[in-house]
C-alpha cells in the first residue's frame, strides 16, 4: 500500500484527457487525481464527476483558482466569476482543495498586486464555506512572479492565511518544488500547522535549458530537493491527505506517457511514500 497517499496531478501527463488520466490512475494503482479546469471543461463537469466516481478516484485538488490581480475593476470582476465557477467545480467533484495560484505582479506594482490578492481571496471566503470547499494558497517559486504568482514564499502565504482569518476555509498548498529553497521552510511549515491543505512533490534541477520556466520540473529523486525532510515537516504539522505528483515538463509531455507513469509510481514509492508516516484521512 505504498501508493495509498499518492495522487496524480493531471498536468504531469498533460497530453492525456481527464478520462485517459483517470484510467491511467486505475491501471497504475494511484487512488487519487488532481484535475485541471481545462480538462474538466473538455468533457463537461457532469461527465467529469461521473467518470471519476465510476473509477472510485479521490479528487485531491482542482487546479486552479486565483489570478486575482487585474489592472481594472472589470478584469477583477471577471476573475472573480472564474473563481466562483472553480469553487462550484471543486464542490461538485468533492475535491479536497481548490488550489489558488494567486496571479502575477502588475508591472512594478508588486504591493498593489498583493493587496488585490488578499482582497480577492477574502471575497471568496463565504462562497467557499457555503460550498464546503477549502482554498489552498500556493506560494510559487519566485521565478514565476511575473507570470504566475506574486505570492512567492510560504511566509507570505501564512501571513495571508492569518490576515484573512478563516482557517476553516483558507490555508496553504505546499509544493516542494516551489518552496524547497527557503531556509525558513521548516519554521513556516510549523507555523502552517493545521492549515496545510495540500502537499505536492517534484524535484528541481538547473540548468534546465527549458524555454518555459514554468514547465521544467524534474521527477522526484532527480534533483536537489530534500523530500525526506519536507515530507517529515508536512506530516508532523498534521497533513494526512493525498500527495500529488505535479511535474510539469515539456520534454516529458513529448515522451511516452505510460513509461512516465511507471516512473512516477516507482519514484513515489522510493522517494516519497516513506517520508509521510502512517495514515490517510478520509476524503
Amino acid at each position: 500500500m505504498s501508493l495509498a497517499r499518492a495522487s496524480l496531478n493531471q498536468y504531469t501527463v498533460k497530453p492525456l484527457s481527464l478520462i485517459e488520466a483517470a484510467d491511467a490512475c486505475v491501471r497504475h494503482g494511484i487512488p487519487a487525481i488532481g484535475v485541471w479546469r481545462d480538462k474538466i471543461a473538455a468533457i463537461g463537469l457532469d461527465a467529469a464527476k461521473r467518470e471519476l466516481a465510476a473509477r472510485q478516484l479521490r479528487v485531491s485538488s482542482v487546479c486552479r483558482g486565483g489570478f486575482f490581480p487585474g489592472r481594472d475593476a472589470a478584469t477583477r470582476r471577471a476573475n472573480r466569476e472564474q473563481n466562483l465557477r472553480a469553487i462550484e467545480e471543486a464542490a461538485t467533484l468533492g475535491a479536497d482543495v481548490l488550489v489558488l495560484v494567486c496571479g502575477p505582479t502588475l508591472g512594478t506594482h508588486i504591493e498593489e498586486a498583493r493587496a488585490q490578492i488578499a482582497e480577492g481571496i477574502d471575497l471568496l471566503v463565504p462562497h467557499a464555506r457555503a460550498a464546503g470547499v477549502k482554498l489552498g494558497i500556493e506560494p510559487l517559486h519566485p521565478m514565476l512572479i511575473a507570470e504566475r504568482s506574486a505570492v512567492t514564499t510560504l511566509a507570505e502565504a501564512n501571513d495571508l492565511v492569518a490576515r484573512i482569518g478563516a482557517q476553516d476555509v483558507v490555508g496553504v498548498a505546499v509544493d516542494a518544488y516551489h518552496v524547497f529553497w527557503d531556509a525558513r521552510l521548516e519554521t513556516e511549515l510549523d507555523r502552517a500547522r493545521g492549515t496545510i491543505f495540500a502537499y505536492h512533490v517534484g524535484d528541481w534541477v538547473t540548468p534546465h535549458g527549458a524555454p518555459d520556466v514554468s514547465a521544467a520540473r524534474a521527477l522526484m529523486g532527480e534533483g536537489c530537493i530534500d523530500l525526506a525532510s519536507i515530507g517529515g515537516w508536512v506530516t508532523r504539522n498534521g497533513y494526512r491527505g493525498p500527495v500529488e505528483v505535479e511535474v510539469l515538463n515539456t520534454r516529458l509531455w513529448e515522451g511516452d506517457q505510460e513509461a512516465l507513469l511507471r516512473e512516477v509510481v516507482a519514484r513515489f514509492e522510493e522517494h516519497v511514500a516513506g517520508t509521510l508516516g502512517a495514515g490517510l484521512t478520509a476524503a
Copy 2:
C-alpha cells in the same frame, strides 16, 4: 552629476577586457567599476591596479569570493585558498567590498551546504579584517540554488551576518534582481541597517527564454522590479556607496557593447539615480 553613484559591473559588458571596460567607464562618465577575478587574472593584478588607478576609477567590488561548500575537505581547502587570494586582490585594488556568492547545495544536503558556508565565511574573517576588506554575502535568486548559492534570501544572509558576529567585516550585498520578489524585503533591509555593503541593480522579465538562467537579466526599467522602493529602502538604511549595474545577459553580450553602455547610462539616470537620495561616501 546623476551618474555620481553609478558603477559598471564588468560582466554587464562581459566581452570587454578589464582595460576596455575601464576605458568605457571613463568615456561614459561612470566613476566606478565592479571587476571580476577572471578579468583581473587576464592582465595580472599589478597591471589591473595600475590601469584602474590611471583612470581614477573607484573599484566598487571584486566579484567574487565564495563557493564554500565542497564534498570533501580537500575541495573546501582549495576553495579557501581561492578566497584568500580574492581578499588579497580586493585589498590591492582598494575595492569597497568582496562579493561572496556562497556556493550551491550539495545534492539534497542543503543544510550541510549552509553549514559549510557559515564555517567558510567565519574562517575568512580575521584575514579580511587584517587586509581591510569587507565581505558582502549576496543572497542569490532561489532559481540559482543548484548552481550558484544556497543562500537565497536576504533573511538568510542577515541570519549569517548575525551568527558570524563580525559586522565590521561581514555584511550583505543586495542585488535587486535577486531579492525583489520577497514580501519581507523591506523588513529585512531594515534589519540589515549598517551592514549593507553593496547595492546592485538590474531588472526581471519572464519568460526570458534563456538556456542559461543565470544570464537572462533585463536592463533597469524593462521589467517588474520596483527599483524606486528598493533604492529608497537601501538608502534609508545607510547605504551611500556606488550602485552597480549588473545585467548578465547572453543576448546583450552578443550585441554592440557601446550601444549597450549608452542604454545602461540612460536607464541608470532614469530609473536609479533619483531613488538614492544625496551623497556618496568616500572610497
